[in-house]
């Protein structure tokens, strides 16, 4: 993010007002930088026009890695490296290998997906969240608009924000 940009910050009290406001603001041609909410607001990502996250695909691929890893590991260890007759079964008998395969699939899928989520969302310890308004983790919804990216004048956007139901509109720099 570039430093020293000017932002308009609209504070909203209710998630349904916010959803309407996001739509109306975008219809008027104002580009929204980001909306910060204290809890997940369903439908907000659609109103903001975000593309669906591809994390499910990542989860599937990590899971597939886990399956292949677990199967090859067991087959190689008990089938190739040190074959042993256990309970009269074949060296490589698939049914007893299924539980470990399933567990490793789940393990690697979960950790891989969560790790990807952390990386793409840039979540890490000691990161400064640099919030526009501290109330956004309490009870207010915060809509940030980067003035540098918008052609409309600051006062025009301010009046649009007030019209669509913002409780307060502040101007900040960061």
């Amino acid at each position: 993010m570039e430093k020293g940009q000017n932002y308009l910050v609209g504070i909203f009290n209710d998630e349904d007002v916010l959803l309407k406001a996001v739509r109306q603001v975008r219809e008027k041609g104002v580009k929204i930088f980001e909306v910060y909410t204290p809890f997940p607001v369903h439908g907000l990502e659609d109103e903001l026009g975000y593309k669906k996250t591809r994390l499910p695909i990542a989860a599937f691929l990590f899971g597939l890695t886990g399956t292949i890893l677990a199967l090859t590991m067991q087959m190689w260890m008990l089938g190739v490296d040190w074959p042993m007759i256990i309970g009269g079964k074949d060296f490589v008998s698939l049914p007893p290998f299924i539980p470990v395969t399933f567990e490793l699939t789940v393990l690697i899928s979960a950790f891989g997906m969560v790790g990807t989520f952390m990386v793409v969302s840039d979540l890490k310890p000691y990161k400064d969240p640099n919030l526009f308004d501290k109330r956004s983790t309490d009870d207010k919804h915060v809509m940030a608009i980067n003035l540098g990216n918008n052609s409309l004048a600051s006062d025009d956007i301010k009046s649009i924000l007030s019209d669509v139901g913002a409780e307060e509109v502040n101007e900040t720099q960061r």
């Binding site: 349904d16 910060y36 994390l55 008998s93 539980p99 567990e103 979960a110 890490k124």
Partner: protein, 454 residues
């Protein structure tokens, strides 16, 4: 967006606003610990200390200090292990399966229930670890690591090894699931923090969470997939635990009914433990508006259902013992009911089969005192269930000259107390320093205005 019928009872009472949720939950973290908490913490640390002595003696002298003998080689250790793992199942059921079923009442109890899961699994892990005697060698016995025997690998055909993978996966996935849910709430505490220490600690724990719409979108997707992964995982864990018995050829263990029967029993005992803990937490932290009678009633209904499944499973086992016409099988079950351990069997039947049926009466299932008592009775009963399955099936084996009776020693009791110490110490620490209710989720079911999305 989901439509909720206006006929449904409100899940959060007392006309709470979104800000009230923050205030009510965060103030428990911010306030100085009260006397009740300090007293409870002291008690659990004393328990932990007594237990630690038993664990030390166990490691010093070996498992000979337990009451095991040549015939009964498995008793309290595996009983306690299965009991704790079972208790853990309720947390995952509440947070994952109820999320998939869109049951919103899970929201005020899932945080504490998941914490309970994690702590219960830690307690469970103590038993397989400690019973090995030389637990520092356990890694080589349990994990496929290259070793000095020219890499003689672990036996992937053994249900005990499946257990290692199942329990460790279950523990780590539950931990991640729980932590992901905690991040937004840690951010709330961080932004309210006034002193330096809590600012730094919760700042680190919250991973720089800012609540951006894009992050929430990904967060919800991650939560949904983790729930989807945790659901078959939790069912697999107790299934594999039951395989420890079911794949053997001991009469009384060798039954195909075990996996569903164990899973139902696990959810049964887990919900009972959630209720025991939540009724106390709710009272001490004055959370009556978040965990309402309605929540307690719903949990009691789950207890009645799973308790009935367990009861039917007991009866089915008896029927199959007769229907199979295998003398050893028939004897194992008659011995259970009328043998030297019949006291354990009838305790189990009373606690597990009869007591949950009382919840058919609305007055009892909406009474806090009755729920609290029955929840403890159920957990006693579920402990006896595992004891009955394990010890009564072993103590009279194929050779009558080696028949024996198992009695617990004080070290059996001491190691069990040790896990209680761990469990309650961790739970009280959690209740003091972590938000006990998932604030972000509860906020999402509170309506701030009459405005409707068109």
């Amino acid at each position: 967006m989901q439509a909720t019928s206006s006929l449904r009872e409100s899940l959060v009472t007392g006309g709470k606003t979104v800000h009230d949720v923050t205030q009510d939950i965060c103030s428990r973290v911010e306030d100085k610990p009260n006397k009740t908490w300090l007293g409870a913490m002291t008690l659990s640390l004393i328990t932990l200390g007594i237990g630690a002595y038993a664990v030390f003696m166990l490691l010093w002298d070996g498992i000979g200090v337990w009451g095991l003998n040549k015939t009964v080689g498995w008793a309290w250790d595996i009983t306690n292990f299965v009991w704790w793992v079972g208790i853990g199942h309720a947390g995952t059921l509440i947070s994952a399966i109820l999320l998939l079923f869109r049951q919103k009442w899970r929201m005020s109890i899932n945080r504490a229930a998941e914490a309970m899961t994690i702590f219960a699994v830690i307690c469970a892990l103590m038993f397989p670890a400690l019973h090995m005697g030389r637990l520092w060698l356990g890694f080589y016995w349990a994990l496929p690591l290259p070793n000095t025997f020219g890499s003689l690998w672990v036996n992937f055909n053994s249900p005990l090894l499946w257990d290692v993978f199942a329990i460790s996966t279950y523990f780590s996935v539950s931990l991640v699931f729980w932590y992901i849910g905690l991040i937004p709430d840690f951010a709330t505490i961080r932004d309210r923090a006034t002193n330096k220490v809590s600012k730094a600690v919760y700042g680190a724990l919250s991973f720089g969470w800012d609540g951006a719409a894009k992050t929430w979108m990904r967060y919800e997707s991650v939560a949904l997939i983790l729930a989807g992964l945790a659901t078959p995982l939790v069912l697999s864990v107790h299934t594999i635990v039951s395989f420890d018995f079911a794949t053997s050829v001991i009469p009384g263990w060798h039954t195909t009914i075990f996996p569903p029967y164990f899973v139902a029993g696990a959810i049964f005992s887990g919900f009972a433990m959630v209720l025991t803990l939540m009724i106390v937490t709710r009272k001490v932290y004055k959370l009556e508006d978040y965990i309402t009678i309605y929540h307690i009633e719903l949990m009691n209904i789950v207890i009645t259902i799973t308790g009935s499944i367990v009861g039917i499973a007991y009866i089915t086992e008896f029927y199959m013992a007769w229907y199979s016409q295998v003398p050893a099988e028939g004897y194992a079950f008659l011995n259970r009911m009328a043998g030297p351990y019949s006291w354990a069997y009838w305790s189990m039947m009373t606690c597990n089969v009869i007591s949950p049926q009382l919840f058919w009466i609305k007055k009892i299932r909406t009474s806090i005192a009755a729920t609290f008592i029955i929840s403890i009775i159920v957990n006693i009963g579920m402990w006896f269930e595992r004891f009955v399955i394990i010890v009564t099936s072993l103590h009279r084996d194929y050779l009558p000259s080696s028949w024996a009776y198992f009695s617990a020693t004080r070290y059996d009791v001491g190691v069990y107390l040790f896990t209680f110490g761990i469990f309650f110490t961790l739970f009280f620490l959690f209740a003091k320093f972590f938000p006990v209710i998932n604030m972000a989720e509860v906020k999402s079911i509170i309506k701030t205005s009459s405005e409707k999305k068109d």
